[in-house]
Structures are given as C-alpha cells and as structure tokens.
C-alpha cells in the first residue's frame, strides 16, 4: 500500500511542484511549465526562492541540503531532484 502510494507520489512530483510554485509565486498554474525559472517568473526572486524551498520541504516532507537548494533552477530541475530524493527515501525505507 505504501509502495503504491509512493509510486503515485513519484508520478506526481512534477504536477505537485507546479502547484506549489503557482501558490508561492502567486501566478496561475497555467502560466507555468517545466522550463519556468527565475528568469521567466517575475516574482521568483531570491527571497521567494527561500519560500519556495520551505514550501517544497513541507509539501514533500523532505529537507534539502544547501547544495541541493542551489540546483533548484527551474521547475523541471526541481521535479527531477525531488524524484531522485523520493526514490532514495523509498530505498532507505526498505519497502
């Protein structure tokens, strides 16, 4: 059951990142895509980036290392990193 749930979670990483970004940057989700980044989203400045980090940590129940925070350069890269982290967590959970 928990494995099924995490597979579902994994599949949804991108859509959950999109939803979270839409809330934090206060833009409609339709205005976001995988390539959206601080260069294309006006409200994605360095302080909002911190809020985005906090929001993702809360949404996915994970913590980013300082190195990882620097890799969150676009929606797509963020989703890829999260997929990776969730996969790691599943294997350390041992199920």
């Amino acid at each position: 059951m928990s494995q099924m749930a995490s597979v579902a979670q994994n599949r949804h990483a991108l859509s959950r990142v999109l939803a979270t970004a839409a809330d934090v940057f206060q833009v409609p989700e339709s205005g976001l895509e995988g390539a959206s980044s601080p260069d294309t989203i006006e409200s994605w400045d360095s302080l909002h980036h911190l809020s985005f980090v906090v929001a993702l940590e809360q949404e996915f129940g994970i913590q980013f290392s300082p190195e990882e925070i620097e890799q969150l350069l676009s929606i797509e890269l963020t989703a890829m990193l999260l997929d990776e982290k969730l996969k790691q967590r599943r294997s350390t959970d041992g199920d």
């Binding site: 939803a19 979270t20 809330d23 934090v24 940057f25 206060q26 302080l47 911190l50 809020s51 985005f52 906090v54 929001a55 940590e57 809360q58 949404e59 913590q63 290392s65 300082p66 925070i69």
Partner: protein
C-alpha cells in the same frame, strides 16, 4: 485524501469569491489555513486576500521588523495568520542586521514608515557573539564587559526609539546556547547560561521602565517547541535563516499574541457551552451525579479547561454561558457540583435555553453592551460551531478538535484573549457587570427616568490624567466604539506626550454610584486655541451611557473653558458604524453645526449665550481646571 480535500476547499472558496460572498470566503480561507499552515497555502490565501482585503473591515496594522537574520520567508505566514484573524498587516522588514542604524538615525526608513509595532528580533549570537560562541575563553571581567555593553546598547536603542516614535516595541529575549562547558556550566554562579539569564533579567528591567515596550520570551518559546528542532543550521550557514521550517508557525503565533492586543483586535467575552465542554456528559440525560468534572480522569480534562477559563476571567475577560439545557438544572449544577471550579458568580450573562445559539450570542452581546465581534465562542459541537461561524462570521469561534483534553490548550493559545497590560478596571470587570445588573433592575422598578437617575446617587470626578490613570485613559480611547465623538485612538505614549503639550488637557472621568465604583469610564481631551476650546476626544464607556454623565462633562467643559477665557466650545463629530449613540450629543446640548469636513460635522457653542449645567442628581468633583500655556510656564 488530503489532496482531494484541499482541492474541494479551494473550489468552494473560488465559488464564494465569484459570488461575492466575501464574509463566507473569509471564514473558509481561515478554515483552509487552520487545516494546513504551509508556505504554499499561505501564497494561495494571500493572493485571494488581494481581492478581499478592501471588502472586509479588517484592522490595519503597521509592523516593522528589526532583525539580524533572514526573516522574509516567515512573512507570508505572518500575513496569512493576521488576515484570517481580521488584521491587515502592513509589514516592513528593516535592512539585514541594520537594527541599530535604523533606530539611531532619525531619518531612517523605520521612522518614515511610522510603524505602530516594532519587533526587535536579534539573535544572541549576533548581539554577544563572544558569550554565545567563546564563553570558555572569557575571563569574568570580559564577561562583565560584554554584559554591560549589551545593557547600554539596549537602553540606548529603546530610549532613542521612544524619542522618535510612539510605536509599541516587542523585544525578543536572548536565546541560550548549548553550554560550552557541559553540565559543569550550571555548577557555579558565573556560567554561560546563568550569564544569559542575567542578561534577560536586565533586559526585562529596562523594558519595564518604558511605556509600550514589551518582552517576548524567545528562549522559553524555543524551549517549549524543542531546542534541538528549532534551528536549521544548514539554512543559517548558507542563507542566514536560522529557523527550521517547523519553527515558523510557533514563532508567528507568538508574534500574533502581541499583535492582537496591540492592534486592538481582541475578544472581551468568552461564551461557553456546558455539556461536553465545561463538563463531560449531557446533564439533561445523565443527571448531575453522572456528569464528569473533578480531579480524576476523565473529569480532570474538563477541570483543566475550567482552570484555563478562570485564568481568562482573572485577566478581565467576561464569561457567559450559552447552552442548550434546562436552566434550573444547569444553574443548580454550576452552583453546587463539588467538582466545578467555575461558579455562577464568574459569569456575567447566562443564556441557558433551547433557542438557536446565534440568537443567544446576539442577546449576550447586547446584554453586556459589546459588539458581537467582541465575542469568542467555545463549544464541543461542530454543528453549533459551524452554525455560528456562518451566521455570525464576526464571532471568534475557538477551533477545537473533538477531544476534551485539547480544549484548555486551544483556549490558552487563542491570541484574541491576550493582553499586554491590565488595568484595575479589567481585573474586576465581572463585579462591575453584576452591579450593572442591579442598576438595570432599579431602572425597571423606578417610575420616571429622573427618579431612577436620582436614586442612583451618582458622583462624577473629573481629574487631569496622572501616571496612574494614563493606561486606563489610553485603553478607553482604543476600546470605546459607541459613545465616542471622534474615535481617535491613542497609545499610552501618545497620551503622555499630549499632556506635555501646551494648551492641551487630558481628563479622566470616574463615576461612582450607590452600587459601587465604576472606575474610570470616561475621557476628555481638549485643546485651547486663542478663544476657542476644541474638544479632541469625548468618550464614555457603554457601561454608563444614558445616565446624563455626558451633561456633567460638558458642564465642566463650559465652565472651565469660559474661566480660561474661551468664547467658543467646539467639537467634531465623525460618524462611524458604531457610534450612533453619541450622534446627538452636541445638538441636544444646543451646539450649532458650523462646518462639515472629512465626513464629519463641527459643532460650536457660544459660551457667552449658552450654558450647560451639571444635572442636579450628579455630584461633580473637579480637581482643577485648564492649564493654559502661560500658567504652565509660570
């Protein structure tokens, strides 16, 4: 599941906004926030308030943060928490680590922002890095030097801010580190932790010397939440933000406990249900002998709730019962049950019947002379809570889960009951209301109004404000909504400043009658300008409206302004949603309208032609008259 629920809630909110149901949308946004206090949710809610904030009557509050760390990611949390509680915060975050410059420079952005609240959130490691980081290296003399340097810095910062601003200040205490010498640190009087305790005591002493300067026990907050969980060392080192994500809400909630009373967004009344709230079980079914209340489980949960309610009573919150029950049986239980802490004498109003609770709450508000927005409601039944929330969105319904053991905490956490100062009047508020009951009984039994007023045997004392009465007078300007001609709000600091200005006079009005001392229930602020005496503030607590005290006050003003050489007594009336009781004050006392501006009317009384005398059923005591500039200098 949570994703689905989240979507449902948001769909409902969007519909309410589309339909223009602003108050209901406000309620539902509050529900959404209480369900998931997360950064993403805060972003969503804040975007919705862009549309809502001007359509609701929210209390604006300007808050400035002086800080030594990155606090920006906490701000959406604070804004959301404030908005859903009826406060529209305008927040300024001062330059990073620039707190001292901001306070010391009179032209700083801090002062041009003119905040009402300044929150000083500086970490120990930034204030006294040697004591935080390298205590083991320090000699006792070096420790003393650091301690006195910090003491001087705090004194200077606070007194300078006081000079340039009348904002209230909230200052974080110093947080304790992990002792560098381990358990040995505590085995003497000069350890690292003892030094920080000492610094915090000194800080509290300095704050007490000033009006409107308050201490937030930051170290206790961290301890309560869990010291090891509070920080995120990686974020501190890379981004200068020390707080772990899970610490955001505890800190924001603590700030809200100060913001609510300082912004004046508080509840004066707590209305409580009885069955499964004050006690376990249903009285009309189980009977008095079987309900659960006392020292043993499960009655002990209800008893600890009663203790929390009693603490609010001691803080001056009025209590009311709002319960579906048989009145005789419920009153007998309140009176006689051996396990109860709360007794009928603690309550100022009772609505024990089978009526709709929203209606009962309206009646309680009118009996206690408060707006329904000043009422908080505690009920275990989700149906009753929902009914009241939708019917009366202005009532603060305490969010509780179904579990009795959580009720006391929910009440103690509720920021609407917080007070930063307490006057004598607050502490004996319920006694005052009981006397009020006796007065209304007398009013019903007396024939004519005049007979009633005579029988009250009233004494009115009008006295220039003193350091002892300052707090109460400021509080009256902040809390009085109904009998208040200009609704100008003043802080203690502002009132104190006004008393120092030439030609301005501030008076406290105290009323006694045969049932007791009502305390200070009125205030007057006037300014003499050549031959015009202008009334800046004229207000009476609703407890004493309709007893001709206003005539005694105006009588005092005509006499003293004439004696001071004035030819005209003038005052503005600015109508608000709530001050219709005072609308006719000036016209019934034969003032003439002479100007209109800013939505108000200026009323004037020619002192050579007209006079107002104190009603003969009031004994008026006047300590002294006006203080003119020449006299003040002489």
């Amino acid at each position: 599941m949570s994703v689905l629920q989240k979507t449902d809630r948001r769909v409902e909110i969007e519909q309410l906004l589309d339909n223009g149901q602003w108050a209901a949308a406000h309620v539902r946004l509050g529900d959404l926030w209480h369900g998931e206090r997360k950064a993403a949710t805060a972003g969503y809610i804040l975007a919705r308030y862009e549309q809502l904030r001007d359509r609701l009557s929210l209390t604006k509050c300007r808050i400035s943060f002086l800080r030594s760390t990155v606090v920006e990611p906490l701000m959406p949390f604070l804004q959301t928490a404030a908005l859903v509680s009826g406060i529209d915060p305008i927040i300024q975050v001062g330059p990073f680590n620039g707190y001292a410059q901001e306070i010391l420079d009179p032209c700083s952005s801090l002062y041009s922002f003119s905040p009402e609240i300044v929150i000083l959130a500086i970490q120990t490691r930034d204030l006294v890095p040697d004591i935080w980081e390298a205590y083991a290296d320090l000699s006792p003399r070096e420790v003393n030097r650091s301690v006195s340097r910090l003491r001087e810095m705090f004194s200077q910062l606070i007194s300078t801010l006081r000079e340039h601003s009348d904002a209230c200040m909230v200052i974080h205490t110093l947080e304790k580190p992990v002792a560098s010498q381990g358990v040995f640190d505590l085995q003497g009087t000069e350890g690292q932790l003892a030094t920080i305790d000492h610094l915090n005591l000194e800080l509290k002493q300095i704050c007490r010397q000033y009006r409107g300067v308050f201490v937030l026990d930051y170290d206790a907050l961290i301890a309560q939440h869990g010291r090891t969980r509070w920080h995120d060392e990686a974020k501190w080192l890379t981004m200068r933000m020390p707080f772990a994500t899970d610490s955001f809400m505890p800190l924001v909630s603590e700030w809200m406990k100060f913001i609510h009373p300082l912004a004046g967004v508080t509840c004066k009344v707590l209305a409580v249900d009885l069955d499964n709230t004050l006690w376990g079980g249903v009285l009309s079914e189980d009977g008095q002998d079987s309900i659960q209340i006392g020292l043993e489980y499960p009655g002990a949960h209800y008893r600890s709730l009663q203790r929390a309610i009693l603490d609010l009573y001691q803080r001056g919150i009025l209590l009311a019962v709002c319960s579906k029950n048989n009145p005789d049986e419920a009153m007998a239980t309140l009176q006689n049950h051996p396990g109860m802490l709360l007794r009928p004498k603690h309550f100022a109003a009772f609505r024990i019947n089978w009526q709709d609770k929203a209606q009962n709450l309206r009646e309680i508000a009118s009996e206690l002379n408060v707006g329904t927005d000043a009422i908080a409601f505690l009920d275990d039944s989700p149906i009753e809570r929902e009914r009241v929330r939708l019917e009366m969105p202005e009532v603060k319904v305490i969010p509780v889960s179904g579990r009795a053991q959580d009720f006391a905490k929910a009440l103690r956490d509720c920021p609407f009951f917080e007070r930063v100062t307490l006057s004598m009047e607050d502490r004996k508020l319920t006694t005052l209301y009981h006397e009020q009951h006796q007065r209304s009984d007398l009013a019903r039994s007396s024939g004519s109004l005049e007979e009633f007023l005579r029988s009250l045997d009233q004494e009115v004392a009008i006295t220039p404000v003193t350091p002892e009465t300052l707090r109460r007078v400021a509080q009256l300007t902040q809390k009085t909504n109904q009998y208040n001609v200009t609704t100008r709000r003043y802080t203690e600091q502002q009132i104190e400043d006004v008393t120092k200005w030439q030609d301005w006079n501030v008076y406290a009005v105290q009323v006694k009658d045969r049932f007791g001392d009502n305390g200070i229930v009125g205030a007057i602020i006037v300014r003499l300008d050549a031959d015009i005496c202008e009334i800046d503030t004229f207000l009476l607590s609703c407890r004493v409206i309709g007893r001709t005290i206003e005539t005694a006050m105006l009588g005092f003003l005509t006499e003293t302004s004439r004696a001071a050489g004035a030819a005209l007594l003038q005052g503005w009336f600015f109508p608000t949603k709530k001050n219709s009781p005072v609308r006719d004050l000036y016209s019934t006392h034969r003032f003439k309208p002479v100007a209109n501006a800013h939505g108000g009317t200026l009323w004037s009384l020619n002192l050579a032609e007209a006079d107002i005398s104190c009603p003969e059923w009031i004994r008026l005591h006047v300590t002294n008259g006006f203080c003119r500039a020449e006299q003040a200098r002489a």
